[in-house]
Amino acid sequence: MRSFGFRILAIIFCGFCIVGCAPAEKNKAATTLTVWHWMTDRGPAFNELAKKYEAKTGIKVNFELYAPSDAYSQKVRAAAQGANLPDIFGILGEKRDFASFIKANYVLELTPYMLEDKAKWKNSFFAKALAVNEFNEGNSYGIKPGIYGAPIDIMTIQMVYNKSLFKQLGLNSNQPPQTFQDFLDIGKKIKAANMQGLVSGWGEIWMIDCLANNYAFNIMGKDKVIATIKGQVPYTDPDWVRVLSLFKEMQDSGLLASGIVTMVNKTAEQLFANEKAVFAFNGSWCVNVYKGMNPNLEYGAFLPPRASNKYPMAIWGGAGSSFMVNCRSKNKEEAVKFLRWLTEAPQQVYLAEATNNLPANKESSNLVPDVTASFAKAMDNATHPNVWGVSEFSPVIEAFDKGIQSIIIGEKTPEQVAQEVQKVKEREMAKKRV
């Protein structure tokens, strides 16, 4: 008896051979622009815009979505090796990776286009959003100064608090903590009330890095942070130890939700949206997430409470996502035109409305709702590693952030972590680099 299942499979197989091998290519009559992106949430909105653009200019735009972002970033790198990059694409990663793409001659410099018409295009953006795609005079990457990408949205990362839980704790629900001491005091109250305090995706280490950097700016100022990255100030400096010990203080006061060290941000969002945590440290995209999970959530946004009065508090912010033009594409002029159209106010408003991201175009930013607006306002305090002109080595960042996890679980002291990070830093500095 020959297997019956096998025969069925064989028939299905033959059937699909006929269907599956039919050519998938479409006839290419007019110019077609291909855009690669990883922004799952924006797929439908992009397709809508592509339709509008085709109706207006006759140029077809194909938005190709590759998600999750890890797979996307591998795909772009692999495609670069095979010289198969599309007309427009986004680069995920650090500024150093961006620089490598430019050095490898994959990215068109947009400066001349930006400066056309009295810099009309350039001036339509938030300067800070554009800065992420900019290389300045004398940058450490050795890139010709200029603008190499167009931001399509902006984001900021700050604190949010739950107003009704604030009331339960007997606090003024319109007065988020201003100083770090206030913050810790609330932590004690939270502990006493047996509630959960701050949630955030600190299992994904970059979100720890973000808050630690915020406080580093607040405690020692931008110049000293950058001097540290350049290797002129050691991580064992008292100011850095102070930054690390803030995390210990937060943990000791009961401010941090249990399990925060392995929490992914989506879990943190779930907890905050369902009123299981008083605070969250999250990016501006959270407005959208909370709205979906709990439309009645009453919450407000605030800057992380300052730990020192010496320097202003800084938060991370800037371009959320950006697009680059492939300079080897034969359609690059058309691609630039499309990007310019995409970042014009009407399209930006549409994108902002359809996806609840903050628009990168200044003129369209006064049209967004309440909490979102406070995230947009926070742009004034925003900074980002990608605009500092120097990048820290990733093993150092990892040692720093994992070190903070160890501090929170009480395994290491801030001093120990500072020394370990400095050791990694020295090891990396000793290596010969490109």
Partner: protein, 282 residues
């Protein structure tokens, strides 16, 4: 009389213990499945708020939405096509090789076999870029054929290893009988070995089918055009960068495991009965 009663009581208590143990394990296995299905019937708002297994309002429309928004009709067929092709390919190629490694003699046999086994040990994550460049040169990038060949390669080592172990255990007498009857080597492989190996072949089918069905990283790398993508890629659209649409995701996941469960039920017949039949023939 007493002793038979004693044995009966012993047997019943034994069975109770066995059932208790198996039921406990079953509960842990069933719970996530039930959670997934019940979540697929909730809304984004209630999914983490309402923790009951049977929600008050059942949102069956999530399934429709997931099917439509994910473009399942296309991707489902794609995945089916890739899975069937890869599994058939692996079964033929790996059973031939395993048969040769188990029964035939030729110089270099052990070396080739060990290279196959060693291949299971090196994590493939590092070789994606190299694979991409290679496929590009062979003009196999962005083609179903290229993807199928890659996936056959992914499952090859394990399948050969599995099949060889089972071929080694099979009685040689049947083969000898067939050889005396004038069967060629291919004839023996096809008419004697494969039917005898049904249980393990069924395991290989399930293993590889699951592997291909759940694969998406390689597909994202190889395919540029969306119409060629497999089902998992559609599921990822529900897990946004920022917003995960959990009910749709769960509905999509529920749909996507049905074919594998069906295949497993189909194959179980061979895993359980296959050899008894063979033994009867022998």
């Amino acid at each position: 009389m007493r002793s038979s009663l004693y044995y009966k009581a012993k047997k019943i208590s034994e069975n109770i213990i066995i059932h208790l143990f198996m039921l406990t394990v079953s509960v842990t296995c069933l719970f996530p499945l039930l959670w997934m299905i019940s979540s697929s019937l909730k809304t984004q708002e209630t999914i983490f708020k309402d923790m009951s297994i049977i929600p008050k309002v059942l949102h069956f429309e999530n399934y429709c939405q997931a099917w439509m928004q994910g473009g399942f009709d296309r991707y489902f067929l794609n995945s089916l096509f890739y899975t069937v092709s890869v599994v058939i390919g692996i079964i033929i190629v790996s059973s031939m090789a395993a048969y040769a490694f188990s029964r035939l003699k030729f110089p270099g046999k052990n070396i080739i076999f060990f290279v196959f086994i060693a291949a299971m040990m090196i994590p493939i994550q590092g070789s994606f870029v190299a694979l991409y460049v290679l496929l590009n040169k062979l003009h196999l990038r962005n083609t179903p054929f290229g993807y199928i060949l890659c996936m056959i390669n992914v499952g090859l080592s394990t399948s050969i290893f599995l099949l060889k172990t089972f071929f080694d255990r099979m009685p040689k007498e049947l083969e000898d009988a067939a050889r005396i009857d004038g069967c060629s080597k291919f004839g023996i492989w096809w008419h004697v070995c494969l039917p005898l190996a049904k249980p393990v072949l069924a395991v290989v089918v399930v293993l590889n089918a699951l592997n291909v069905w759940n694969e998406f990283i390689l597909a994202l790398l190889i395919f540029d055009s969306r119409p060629l993508m497999p089902l998992q890629v559609a599921l990822i659209t529900f897990q946004g960068e920022f917003v995960t649409r959990y009910p749709l995701l769960m509905a999509g996941l529920t749909i996507s495991i049905i074919p594998i469960i069906l295949l497993y039920i189909l194959m179980q017949k061979y895993i359980v009965k296959g050899v008894t039949q063979g033994a009867v023939v022998g």
